[in-house]
């Protein structure tokens, strides 16, 4: 991929003819020039799309009508290819197709670097792929498979009749009618291992005979494997990409980006008093912050990672700088730190958090994704996400101490085992607040706090605060990267705000 200069190249290129459909395996990287601003816009928008895919995936059953309609809405809003009535490729906007293609490859660069990032990226891309594949009609699906060299062939009606009984007895949910009316695919057994392993498919002469409904699973696994291999390859060529100074900052932004509310504006500054914190920590703090608060009380100290995560959270719930200084000082003095030392060593960093020192960036409280993915805790640390970073046995004990019911603990542990850390925290929310179903999708510790307060009788103030879009007011007089400056200069206000969020987010890392 060539990274061209700032000229925009808006060619409706013949490459769109290469796209058979709006769905692809992303086997070939795009070969064209785009501007840096396009580079950023595409990447950020695809990231938004994938985050929507993630959120919908955790709060809805995939491919239900509600899921589909919500995802369609997002695709339209972000100008990604989506046309429910599409019959052929000409129905799609060439620009949208190009954007889809390029944005995928840009995000590969950003998300290939660590195991966690890769896993997240692959999961969302697979879900998006599933959605799009499901959208095609059977004929188009077969076309897609053949175009992509998947040696799957349908079997003839004669063969179906001959094998009818065996097919009925091999595949789940297949009746005589299904056999005759639906397509069956003949696939080399090596490409259908999951079905073979569980003996859920008919095998003959090395071929698996798969009903249409199961072919999707296989195609998805194929996509997943290809993408996984591609990411591994991409990671190896990353040093070359990183040497391009224009790209490195943006790629870093992207992999830590949280696109959405950042809880940096505290409209309720000063509304919380210090003596409320202990009781609030039990009632309305997410587990990570409750754990940090308890450690602080017990040890009269927290290390840097913990101070950042907890300190910014406290800022997010409404502590003022003066309150924060008092809070930390009072606690540290009980430990090994005397007043002078605190003022010299620790007070500075607290003021820094509030944007009163140095670059004067008003740091934003960490989102769940940031807590889970970056800066894992080591010995002596108490920060991080307990659902991600605690050993399950210890997590279980902690939940028992916090009086979570045994069945509730089991549910949480199951979610943890499936790596659904935020869902586990949401379950913790539901159990500690005695409700069946939390009506939100958990993304941010401060969101947890606000939702909790709302539930426990917070009221109008909090609701209003949550609905209003939040942007950071105090912009850093930041030297920043040239990339962000250029972006701010020549694109829409919306985009400028967005990338400034990303920028400030990046800088507090």
């Amino acid at each position: 991929m060539q990274f061209g200069g700032r000229r925009k190249k808006n060619s409706i290129n013949p490459q769109s003819e290469l796209y058979g459909q709006h769905l692809q395996f992303y086997g070939q990287p795009p070969l064209e020039n785009i501007s840096l601003s396009e580079f950023e816009t595409f990447a950020v928008e695809r990231l938004k799309l994938l985050k929507t895919v993630e959120n919908l995936g955790v709060s809805h059953v995939k491919l239900t009508d509600l899921y589909i309609s919500k995802l369609e809405k997002e695709l339209k809003a972000l100008n990604f290819p989506y046309r429910p009535d599409a019959v052929s490729i000409v129905d799609f906007d060439a620009l949208e197709l190009k954007k889809d293609h390029i944005s995928h490859f840009i995000l590969r660069l950003a998300y290939c670097q660590t195991e966690d990032l890769r896993r997240w990226f692959i999961q969302q891309e697979v879900d998006l792929f599933r959605f799009r594949f499901n959208d095609l009609d059977p004929k188009q699906q077969l076309e897609f498979l053949h175009k992509n060299n998947l040696r799957y062939d349908t079997i003839s009606s004669e063969e179906k009749l001959k094998l009818k009984d065996q097919l009925i007895n091999s595949s789940f949910g297949v009746s005589g009618i299904t056999v005759m009316e639906h397509e069956f695919y003949k696939v080399p057994f090596q490409d259908a291992l999951d079905l073979v392993r569980l003996r859920k498919v008919y095998l003959k002469q090395g071929y698996a005979y798969i009903p249409h409904q199961d072919i999707v699973t296989i195609v998805l696994n194929d996509f997943r494997t290809r993408l996984s291999k591609a990411l591994a390859l991409t990671a190896r060529s990353l040093p070359a990409v990183h040497s391009d100074e224009r790209l490195q900052p943006l790629l870093n932004h992207l992999s830590h980006a949280y696109v959405g509310q950042d809880y940096s504006i505290q409209k309720n500054v000063g509304k919380i008093s210090l003596d409320q914190i202990d009781s609030l920590s039990g009632k309305s703090f997410p587990l990570c912050m409750r754990q940090l608060h308890q450690s602080l009380r017990e040890n009269h100290h927290l290390r840097h990672g913990g101070r950042m995560q907890y300190g910014l959270f406290l800022k997010g719930i409404g502590l003022s700088l003066e309150q924060a200084l008092q809070f930390w000082k009072m606690e540290f003095i009980r430990g090994k730190v005397d007043a002078d030392k605190f003022d010299k060593a620790y007070a500075y960093s607290i003021r820094h958090m509030f944007g009163k020192e140095g670059k004067r960036t008003d740091y934003t409280p960490y989102s769940c994704m940031k807590v889970i993915l970056s800066n894992p805790p080591s010995q002596g640390d108490h920060h991080g996400c307990p659902f991600r970073h605690s050993d399950p046995e210890l997590l279980k004990q902690k939940l028992q101490v916090y009086k979570v019911s045994p069945s509730g603990i089991n549910q949480i542990l199951e979610l943890v085992k499936g790596m659904h850390y935020q869902l586990a925290c949401q379950k913790y929310f539901e159990l500690t607040h005695n409700i069946e179903d939390s009506s939100f999708s958990l993304n941010h510790p401060n969101q947890y706090f606000l939702e909790s307060q709302k539930l426990l009788g917070g009221g109008k103030d909090i609701k209003r605060e949550m609905d209003a879009p939040q942007r950071s007011q105090e912009n850093a007089a930041s030297k920043g990267s040239t990339a962000t400056q250029e972006v701010a200069a020549n694109t829409s206000q919306h985009l400028a705000e967005m990338t400034e969020d990303l920028d400030s987010f990046f800088q507090d890392a």
Binding site: N169, Q190, V196, Y202, Q205, G206, Y207
Partner: protein, 454 residues
């Protein structure tokens, strides 16, 4: 043919003779070269030897057939194992950059060991076998061979007697040799029906629908069940045995059967009671679910609850099949099959404890195979020295004495095994190799065609 008495202490004397005059090196090399289709296939193959005093050496590899012969004749291994084809010569693996030395291909293999059936055979246990329980191996080979051929499409399957208490299968098709670990694992799972260890009472559970693989396997078991289980193993005879079988029957049928068994003592009749009871349950469930569906239709309601009711009622109805499978279905050692780099005892290796040679089994004559008539190393060594009826000693002329003698020795070597009981097994192995050779030839032609294009 009576086997000469074998004494393990004589191995050090017999092995040199075996490796110099009897081991079928040329066939062995022909096998493992696979027609020379892939470069260095033989050279990159790992062998391991167990030498005298249990000294074990891995990562043995050889450049030529001659080198293999010389080494084996020098080391006289007690046991020979065959491993994977690696990315480099195994004997040089220490010189290769760490991480790049990898197992690439190997035959798909299966190991069936009689000790895994101890909980279901009453005649022997542990390392012992007899003609009564050997039927289990016969059943195992019939079932697995059919599945490997018909379900998976594997053409070249070599079954080998392990020398003591089991059998091995080497699937030599190119597709099989190239299978990934995940694929081997999936194939093994597909072929596994008996699950659970000592603490599990019921090791086979069948649910609807019965997969064609299971039906086909049951057909094989049924052929042997009466003779093997009811007569040879006396399944329905002793009180202890009957109790074990009834433990596998659902509770509601158990007490009825126990009562009936007070009156009926004949094994075949007892088994008939079991199968009849099972059929009754199967039909009953069908009628039950049918009723539910009818009921819904007349009401005009669609009630999902009843569907699940249907499926839970259908468990436990196939208990007669489950019993047959638990007592007869092959038990695989999954670990042997799953790894690409797993080492397995080589065909034509000697079993140090029994002296028997690991010979290939002719599957077309499977039911006639008798492990107790497999030749031992002492027998075949003895047969070597026995003059064949009507044979004359080689006459050595003048002049080219030495050359002729050498020539004669070579010729004699080729004919040596033919004078022994090993002959028919090597002949069978030759036929197996001929079968594969046709596909090698096709592969070689294809490859050379491709090369010509460039």
């Amino acid at each position: 043919m009576p086997s000469s008495d074998y004494d393990p202490a004589s191995l050090p004397d017999l092995l040199p003779l075996y490796y110099r005059r009897l081991f079928p090196f040329s066939q062995y090399y022909r096998w493992l070269s696979y027609g020379g289709v892939q470069k260095n296939y033989f050279q990159n193959r790992e062998f391991s030897f167990t030498l005298k005093d249990d000294i074990y050496v891995r990562y043995q590899s050889f450049s030529t057939q001659n080198e293999l012969e010389k080494e084996m004749q020098k080391m006289n291994p007690y046991k020979i194992d065959v491993g994977a084809v690696y990315s480099h010569r195994p004997s040089q693996h220490n010189t290769v950059k760490s991480g790049t030395f990898q197992a690439l291909e190997k035959e798909l293999v299966f190991d069936i060991d009689m000790t895994d059936y101890d909980d279901v055979r009453s005649c022997c246990s542990a390392a012992d076998i007899c003609s009564k329980c050997w039927t289990l191996m016969t059943i195992a080979i019939h079932i697995l061979d059919r599945a490997l051929r018909d379900d998976f499409g594997f053409q070249h399957r070599l079954w080998v007697y392990s020398g003591r208490r089991g059998v091995h299968c080497w699937v030599c098709d190119e597709a099989a040799r190239k299978l990934s670990v995940a694929a081997r694992s999936a194939v093994t799972e597909y072929l596994s029906l008996v699950k659970g260890g000592d603490e599990t009472v019921k090791k086979v559970v069948l649910t609807e629908p019965i997969h064609p693989f299971i039906s086909n396997s049951l057909d094989v078991v049924k052929e042997y069940f009466t003779q093997y289980a009811l007569h040879d193993q006396d399944l329905m005879g002793s009180k202890e045995s009957v109790e074990k079988v009834l433990a596998l029957v659902p509770e509601d049928a158990r007490s009825y059967l126990q009562q009936e068994f007070e009156k009926e003592k004949k094994p075949e009749k007892r088994w008939k009671l079991i199968t009849t009871e099972a059929k009754r349950k199967q039909v009953g469930n069908f009628a039950h679910s049918f009723y539910i569906v009818l009921h819904i239709r007349t009401e005009g309601l669609v009630v999902l609850q009843s569907v699940s009711l249907k499926s839970t009622a259908k468990k436990g109805q196939y208990f007669e099949k489950e019993i047959m499978l638990q007592y007869c279905y092959p038990r695989l050692d999954a670990n042997v099959s799953k790894g690409v780099n797993h080492l397995l005892k080589s065909p034509f290796s000697v079993h140090p404890k029994t002296g028997r040679i690991s010979v290939p089994i002719d599957v077309s004559e499977l039911d006639k195979f008798d492990p107790f008539s497999v030749p031992t190393i002492s027998l075949i060594c003895e047969e070597l020295d026995r003059p064949r009826p009507g044979e004359e000693k080689e006459k050595l002329g003048d002049g080219k004495e030495k050359e002729d003698e050498k020539d004669a020795i070579e010729k004699r070597k080729i004919r040596d095994y033919k004078r022994t009981s090993l002959a028919k097994y090597i002949k069978y192995f030759d036929q197996f190799l001929d079968g594969m050779a046709r596909s090698w030839k096709a592969e070689r032609l294809r490859k050379s065609d491709l090369q010509k294009e460039f």
